[in-house]
């Protein structure tokens, strides 16, 4: 029996997405804060908000263990928020640990739901909840004398353990504090479009408000009993009338912090006992806050030209980036790409229509140029949509390093470089797992304990460097540690024991020996630990990387460290390419491998060696000439070296001049792999990395300069 009833099904996906996003934010904040040994007010508020949202949404989904835990964490942060200095106190370590554990618990739950929402059963979080409950009184005990007014509220919070908590950030609008009691305020709340079950959401909001307000009435009344009033709520919003002794800002921030609220409107107050001037002033004061979440973005754009206070700007910017992301089904992106291709083809069919030939249509061509410009722009955007930075994957590694540091008693710092390098979403998804394995291996096996490190004359602090860059159209990612390095003799011994050797021991080169560790069933650590060492690690890593056509190589020096280099060929990545033409065919050469282009002139010597290999002499260096038309068997009229153009290209170790008919121009292209059907032919061996679709819908082949120079 499923935990979720059928009517909830459509919400499950949204819940998963929403919660996952929040948890990612949470982890980021936690890692940063722990590193800085400090938590800014912003971060505290942010964590508070995250917990609040998780509590609300999981309660709505009927996941009591999650909402309980979120509730307790929120309680804990309620105290911290009142007095941020507690984050520096003796309890800070405990708080961070609890937060990380809670975040893990949520993640595990969400993953379980994601895997199979039909059979999902909530796990028990009572241990964690109890631990947090233990910390709360300790935290309170540490409370300094200040802020006495607020303390009772905090106390009430944690003891009643049912009330949601108060505001996280000061309300942005300037609703004046009202004289308490006697006044009935009216607020009209609108829920997000399509958030579903509006009546239940309305009920939740009312329940939340009940703890702070007296005499709550709503229109429609008792929404929870009648799902039919959902449509009314969608249309007219939910009108809440209440009396409160708390300042109005606090109420409005409660509303703001509730889930799925699109906007709310303060409709004024009616005083029925004392008609104070204050109330009169406030009555016509109708506050409309549209789209609570994205309001700060608007703020930012308006205030940007002025020298707004930097801190405020930074905060709005942060909120802005967070809220301007939406999730899109990948299938839709694929479809968008397909349609884009059609548009480009259709556009060139219109503009180059043979029936228009010999006609003078100035205005028509002006319009088609405009259209061309727009489709080009559109294509650029569509293609860049699929690219995501690697920083997300890197972020996850931070977390692993942190956890393992705690558990293994090691002191390792993870440096990440080049997190902004963009790769296609599919590649990005595949990379997280292998990296996790490699980092774990490095932490567990490679880096010595602090004592051993000091004994070996190294700093006690180990360093793992994770870097990514776009080199020659390849994404090169290195994972380097400064640990003990790979022990060649040990690897050989182990491989021999496991029957992995297929030639005499002494015939193995260093590289080959290192490659052995990536064979299935190999693990050098004698004792398998919690984190690694089951002998499945490295071969899984290799398989995963090969899945995206990548290669992995290992470099290691005993006592100095090990470097894993992962090269992912340009598949699906965007590269800057030079388009060259040979007869009717176009080829794309990655700009990064081009050194120079030139035409043959009298100053350049042309040589031919005894085997007939043509060479050109440039600045005293001889470069072999590779005629593209020759190696790819293309019939072209440009065969005289004087007529065509040379492109000096360079790979890791070699250089050569490619001879082509002409240059077509520079263009950014998205690399597409060759169809799987062609995989059994040695296209890669022929120096081709993939293909790309040009603006006019034709296909250009992308040269793989490394392979090309090695094979011709």
């Amino acid at each position: 029996m499923s935990v979720f009833d059928a009517s909830m099904e459509p919400m499950v996906e949204m819940f998963i997405y929403e919660t996952t996003t929040l948890l990612e934010q949470l982890d980021e904040i936690l890692i940063d804060s722990e590193k800085a040994q400090n938590m800014t007010t912003d971060n505290i508020n942010e964590i508070f908000r995250i917990m609040h949202t998780i509590k609300g949404s999981s309660a709505m989904m009927g996941l009591s263990s999650m909402s309980e835990l979120a509730h307790h964490t929120e309680d804990m942060f309620f105290i911290v928020r009142e007095d941020p200095s507690k984050m520096h106190g003796s309890l800070s370590g405990t708080i961070f640990d609890l937060l990380f554990q809670s975040s893990d618990f949520f993640k595990a739950e969400v993953e379980a739901i994601q895997e199979n929402s039909e059979e999902y059963q909530p796990s028990d979080a009572s241990d964690l909840t109890a631990m947090i409950a233990d910390v709360i009184p300790q935290l309170k005990g540490l409370a300094p004398v200040k802020a006495p007014v607020i303390k009772p509220v905090a106390a009430k919070e944690s003891t009643t353990a049912a009330a949601p908590s108060a505001p996280s950030a000061p309300a942005p609008q300037a609703v004046k504090p009202q004289d308490p009691q006697g006044e009935t305020h009216a607020v009209r709340v609108f829920f997000e479009d399509g958030c579903q079950m509006e009546n239940i959401r309305a009920f939740m909001l009312l329940t939340q408000l009940k703890d702070y307000c007296d005499e709550i009435t709503s229109e429609p009344e008792n929404p929870e009993n009648n799902s039919a009033c959902s449509s009314e709520i969608i249309k007219n919003g939910l009108l809440v009338r209440f009396k409160t002794s708390l300042p109005l800002e606090q109420i409005s921030s409660i509303i703001e912090n509730s889930v799925n609220i699109k906007s709310y409107e303060y409709e004024g107050s009616q005083s029925n006992s004392t008609a104070s001037a204050d109330a009169a002033a406030a009555a016509p004061h109708t506050q409309v806050v549209t789209d609570v979440q994205s309001a700060p973005v608007a703020d930012l754009t308006e205030s940007a030209p002025e020298a707004a206070p930097q801190e405020a700007a930074a905060q709005t910017a942060r909120q802005g980036t967070k809220q301007s992301l939406i999730s899109v089904n990948q299938i839709k992106l694929d479809q968008l790409m397909d349609v884009m291709g059609e548009i480009v083809i259709a556009e060139s069919m219109v503009a180059n229509n043979p029936e228009l030939r010999n006609l003078h249509l100035d205005n028509f061509y002006k319009s088609t140029r405009q259209l061309r410009k727009l489709t080009d722009q559109l294509q650029d955007i569509v293609m860049s949509i699929r690219m995501v930075p690697l920083s997300g994957v890197f972020q996850k590694m931070n977390r692993i390093v942190r956890d393992m540091n705690k558990k293994l008693g090691k002191d390792v710092v993870l440096n990440t470089v080049g997190g902004e390098t963009e790769v296609d979403k599919t590649i990005n998804d595949v990379l997280a797992d292998p990296f996790m394995h490699m980092i774990r291996n490095a932490m567990d096996h490679a880096i010595e304990s602090p004592q051993d490190r000091v004994a070996a004359g190294k700093p006690a602090e180990g360093i793992i460097t994770l870097s990514a860059q776009n080199v020659g159209g390849e994404i090169v990612i290195t994972i380097a540690d400064d640990g003990r390095g790979l022990d060649r003799s040990k690897i050989l011994e182990k491989a021999k024991k496991n029957g992995l050797l297929n030639k005499p021991e002494k015939d193995y080169t260093e590289k080959e020996i290192f490659q052995l560790i990536m064979l299935p069933g190999f693990s050098t650590n004698e004792v398998a630990t919690e984190f690694s060492g089951r002998g499945v690690g490295m071969d899984v890593v290799r398989k995963n990387i090969e899945k995206v056509n990548g290669v992995i190589s290992i470099d290691s020096k005993k006592g100095v460290g090990t470097t894993f280099t992962v090269k992912i060929p340009l598949t699906l990545a965007i590269v800057d390419g030079m388009e060259v033409a040979v007869n009717n065919e176009t080829f794309t050469i990655p700009i990064t491998s081009i050194r120079q282009t030139f035409k043959l002139s009298s100053e350049i010597d042309l040589l031919t060696d005894t085997e007939g290999t043509e060479m050109v002499m440039l600045r005293g260096i001889c470069f072999p000439v590779i005629r593209l038309h020759k190696i790819y068997n293309i019939d072209t009229s440009v065969t005289a070296l004087e007529e065509g153009i040379f492109i000096l290209v360079e790979s890791d170790s070699k250089s050569a001049c490619l001879f082509v008919d002409q240059l077509m121009g520079e263009q950014q292209v998205v690399v597409k792999p060759f169809p799987a059907f062609l995989n059994r032919y040695s296209i890669k061996g022929n120096g081709l990395a993939g293909c790309t679709i040009m603006g006019d819908g034709s296909i250009s082949l992308i040269l793989d300069v490394n392979n090309l120079l090695n094979n011709f």
Binding site: M340, G341, I345, K672, F674, P675, L678, S682, I699
Partner: protein, 163 residues
């Protein structure tokens, strides 16, 4: 450039595709391919040739952003190459989750074959063509040779004799 207006999305015709065959001509012979595999039929378009592949693979085409390899069925079954004309079509079929285009002389029609109409290959048929066929079928006065997509696409050797 393909005439996209003539694109027929055959797979949209109905769910019950079993037993239906799309027939096409190569020279005077009629061949059939199971309709379940067929995605669409498009006009002939210029393919970008790819080095290092057998001659019968004409290259790759761009089908709405997807890169599709195209095979000249004529060359694959050992017929002589023939210049493409306005009747030449590419039948796009779905094979192992990816698309492959088959260049044929012209497309004929969709025929519904009942199981008893299909017969095993006669002994005397040409050995080289035969290895790509799953069954033959007689309809009216024509003999339809049904291609076995699996064999046709995975076998790399080109028949040397004419079918």
């Amino acid at each position: 450039m393909s005439d996209n207006a003539t694109v027929t999305t055959v797979s949209a015709l109905g769910n019950d595709l079993a037993g239906k065959y799309l027939t096409f001509y190569i020279g005077n012979c009629t061949y059939g391919v199971e309709l379940v595999h067929v995605i669409e039929i498009i006009g002939i378009q210029d393919a970008t040739s790819v080095p290092g592949v057998p001659a019968y693979i004409k290259g790759i085409i761009n089908l709405r952003g997807r890169i599709v390899p195209v095979i000249d069925v004529r060359l694959k079954i050992g017929e002589e190459e023939k210049a493409y004309d306005e009747r030449t079509c590419i039948i796009v079929i779905n094979w192992q989750e990816s698309l492959v285009g088959l260049i044929v002389d012209s497309v004929s029609e969709v025929i519904d074959f009942s199981a008893d109409q299909l017969s095993a290959l006669p002994e005397f048929s040409n050995v080289n063509t035969k290895k790509y066929l799953s069954s033959v079928c007689k309809t009216g006065n024509r003999l339809v040779l049904n291609l076995d997509c699996e064999k046709f696409l995975t076998d790399d050797t080109v028949s040397e004799l004419h079918g």
